[in-house]
């Protein structure tokens, strides 16, 4: 089948449009947004059609002009004008009009050829023109009649292009409609989040001002030089720390705490490190004191600032500082213990643990994670101090009692309430509110929202602005409506909350892989729910953290109880039930990875206490290599058991005679 050149040209333009659309889509969304491909195809086709029209129009004008000269030059002026007017009123394709003009000209020429004089010719011409009737009506009748003459395929093509034009017009109008909406912001979620964290209004019960004083009094530690070995493959080729020889060590100047981070116990520091540490702790006495006072307060809430009260943009500058103050307090505790003041060390450990509780409950996920982390490190340091120093029986009992009270009072599963505010806040700021729960996504608002979230105050250049607006428009076109989005957000967060209430073992029994399931679900939902993909927080691992933190403190309590049992009875108990019978333990420590008590076994050197860990397998207390090298109860390894006691290898130092422990200093 021979394809005409004009059709070829239009197809080529459509192909160019398709390619441009695909390139734009790949650059913007990575081939997951077909709207730009379809748009590119439509625009390319339209441009090709327009170009073809221009070419045809120009050539038809040339033909028509030529035809006009040939047809009309031999006719009287009034006849030529009449014919031109009829053709103009006809308003149809150039070729058809040229044919009609030729026919009319021929008719007049035939009618006037027998006239002998100019007057007769003029009169005859006037009569004929009158006989033809109204110009406009004649033009309409001729157009209608000629339209009926066109072949079916031409009619189909014409109607198709009309339909495409109508669709494009509707599309443009729809884009204008969705761009003009305004949101109705009715709830200040930043204030709501603060209200949830503040069960009382009495500021005297608020720990935040004291934390702020501690932050203001904090003095940064010194920097030291350390030698480090890096895995060759982990150092980028452009890094200045990359040695020429893979076996070479690098020397870096780092913060003191970073430099000694692999040394869990203060007794393992060298002289320089210990000296610098003591100086740093001494310079922060005031900060430590404020920190302890803050920890004694029952509540903690911060008056968040957020640009335009957008909850996701709420600033939390204190979190990083709290982490540093916690580290300060931990090392302060270790120093006190090292110097023989275990009572002060216990106070510091308890202060840190209480600080962790201040960031748990209905708060943002990052705050809750910081709270869990601070508590986990407090427990870890407690284990280290227990391992390296001996506490008297009274102090041990008091320590255990306090930990039991804190453990019973404190435990919170991860709370997604404030996280859900982020989704609801996005909806109220970026969707219209049509009054009945429905509404559409507003392109311009998406752009403004993300600029605030990213803290981007710079003015966009026009090209960048146009690009981001196009992306936002595309996102709005495929986006779910307000009602659907609200429903999906609520579904996600209520599902997350249900999962948070289940232990890892319960999830395993139900064959629920929360992380994989969530990821698969987010990948499979309609692309119009893209805000959910962007704003949805992690579920599985985060929920496990809360259970791990609970297990850690229960393990610590059980360890202290076992040590007390040994002191009272001469040996460690045969099993944990003996601790219950001896009234040294109120309840057994539970393993979230088996829903049974932690595994306890008396050994030649003492006892071992462990959890089955995330692999749910009892490896007999065997740990993964990485865990043996660097025990970290907060980041449990995926394989092997999580051993709480003993620390590392060998007999716990806390049970060695005093004179032998003194040799280490």
């Amino acid at each position: 089948m021979k394809i005409k050149i004009p059709v070829l040209r239009i197809m080529m333009a459509a192909a160019i449009g398709l390619a441009a659309g695909a390139a734009l889509e790949f650059a913007a969304f990575g081939l997951s947004f077909p709207i730009l491909i379809i748009g590119g195809l439509l625009v390319g086709t339209a441009i090709g059609f327009v170009i073809e029209l221009i070419i045809y129009w120009r050539s038809a004008r040339r033909r028509l002009a030529q035809t006009r000269r040939l047809n009309l030059e031999r006719l009287p002026v009034n006849v030529a004008d009449f014919i031109k007017l009829v053709i103009k009123k006809m308003r149809y394709r150039r070729k058809v009009r040229a044919d009609v003009m030729a026919e009319l000209a021929a008719h007049f020429e035939d009618a006037l050829k027998d006239c002998k004089t100019d007057e007769e010719r003029d009169q005859r011409a006037r009569d004929l023109i009158a006989d033809f009737g109204d110009v406009k009506l004649l033009g309409v009748l001729l157009r209608r009649a000629k339209k009926r003459c066109r072949p079916l395929w031409r009619t189909v093509v014409a109607r198709t292009f009309q339909m495409i034009g109508a669709l494009i017009l509707c599309f443009v109008l729809y884009c204008v409609y969705i761009s003009l909406g305004k949101p109705t912001i009715s709830i200040n979620y930043t204030e709501e989040a603060t209200r949830l964290a503040r069960p009382v209004v009495d500021e005297n019960l608020n720990a935040a001002p004291l934390y702020q004083k501690a932050i203001d009094a904090y003095r940064k530690e010194a920097r030291i030089q350390i030698e480090r070995e890096f895995a060759w493959s982990q150092i980028s080729r452009t890094s200045k720390y990359r040695p020429k020889d893979p076996s070479q060590k690098t020397v870096q100047t780092v913060d003191l705490l970073e430099g000694i981070s692999d040394k869990n116990w203060i007794g393992n520091l060298n002289e320089e490190e210990l000296s610098l540490l003591k100086q740093w702790i001494a310079s922060n006495t005031e900060a430590v004191e404020y920190f302890r006072q803050a920890a004694e307060k029952p509540y903690c809430w911060w008056h968040r600032r957020a640009k335009d009260n957008i909850v996701i943009a709420a600033l939390m500058p204190e979190l990083n500082s709290i982490r540093k103050l916690s580290q300060l307090t931990f090392w302060h505790a270790q120093l006190k213990a090292y110097e023989g003041d275990t009572e002060a060390a216990v106070k510091d450990i308890l202060a840190c643990y209480r600080t962790g509780t201040h960031f748990k409950g209905p708060r943002s996920l990052i705050e809750q994670i910081v709270g869990i982390a601070v508590q986990a490190i407090a427990v870890k340091n407690a284990f280290v101090i227990l391992h390296n120093e001996q506490m008297d029986d009274v102090l041990l009992k008091r320590f255990q009692d306090e930990l039991e009270i804190l453990s019973d009072k404190d435990f919170h599963t991860i709370d997604y309430t404030v996280e859900s505010f982020m989704g609801l806040d996005f909806i109220q700021r970026c969707y219209t509110d049509d009054g009945d729960g429905s509404g559409h996504l507003i392109p311009g608002r998406i752009r403004e929202y993300w600029k605030v979230v990213e803290q981007n105050d710079t003015e966009d250049d026009p090209a960048e602005y146009a690009g981001s607006l196009a992306k936002s428009l595309a996102a709005s076109l495929v986006g779910a409506n307000r009602e659907q989005m609200t429903r999906e957000f609520e579904k996600y967060y209520s599902g997350a909350q249900r999962l948070a209430h289940k232990t890892p073992w319960q999830l395993k029994k139900e064959n629920v892989d929360a992380e994989l399931g969530t990821r698969k679900w987010l990948d499979s939902i309609y692309i119009g729910y893209w805000p959910l993909r962007v704003l949805a927080p992690a579920i599985a691992k985060v929920c496990e953290l809360s259970y791990r933190a609970k297990t850690q403190i229960e393990a610590l309590v059980a360890t202290i109880a076992a040590i007390r049992y040994k002191r009272a009875h001469g040996d460690y108990p045969e099993n944990l039930d003996r601790l219950l019978e001896a009234d040294l333990l109120k309840k057994l420590p539970m393993d979230p990875y088996s829903d049974k008590p932690l595994v306890y076994r008396r050994t030649d050197n003492g006892f071992i206490l462990y959890s089955l860990g995330p692999d749910f397998d009892d490896d007999g207390g065997g740990v993964a290599e990485i865990a043996a090298a660097k025990p970290d109860w907060f980041q449990w390894p995926e394989k092997g058991d999580q051993v709480f006691w003993p620390l590392g290898t060998g007999h716990p130092r806390a049970e060695q005679p005093e004179k032998e422990r003194g040799k280490a200093r």
């Binding site: 026919e103 009618a111 006989d131 109204d134 000629k146 003459c149």
Partner: protein, 113 residues
């Protein structure tokens, strides 16, 4: 005589088909033929002629073709098609019936003297 336009409206296509059944003609020629062969009783307005021709062409009852004339100007000659002949035969039969019926009603007054 100027007839009521509605009266002529129905028979104009049949008249054109009948004229063209006797040979191909161009627009002006057809218009003159109608007048002459009806002894100037029937005249087809020029404003009606060409739209009618195009409508008949759209219905495939006639077909048009450009042919060069002696004067150098091309003319569009119309000729009847097979479908047009069938249609003409049907319309002639109808007109015959109609004439007979009207004659009966008007008591033969419609027959020319």
């Amino acid at each position: 005589m100027k007839f009521e336009s509605q009266l002529l409206k129905g028979i104009a296509p049949a008249v054109v088909l009948e004229i063209l059944s006797r040979g191909k003609m161009y627009g002006y020629e057809l218009s003159e033929a109608i007048e002459q062969r009806s002894s100037n009783i029937l005249t087809l307005g020029k404003g009606t002629l060409y739209p009618l021709l195009y409508n008949l062409e759209a219905k495939k009852l006639i077909k048009g073709k450009w042919e060069a004339a002696d004067s150098g100007r091309e003319r569009r000659y119309y000729s009847i098609t097979g479908k047009g002949k069938d249609q003409l035969a049907r319309q002639k039969a109808q007109l015959k019936e109609l004439t007979a019926g009207l004659n009966l009603i008007f008591g033969g007054a419609l027959t020319p003297a």
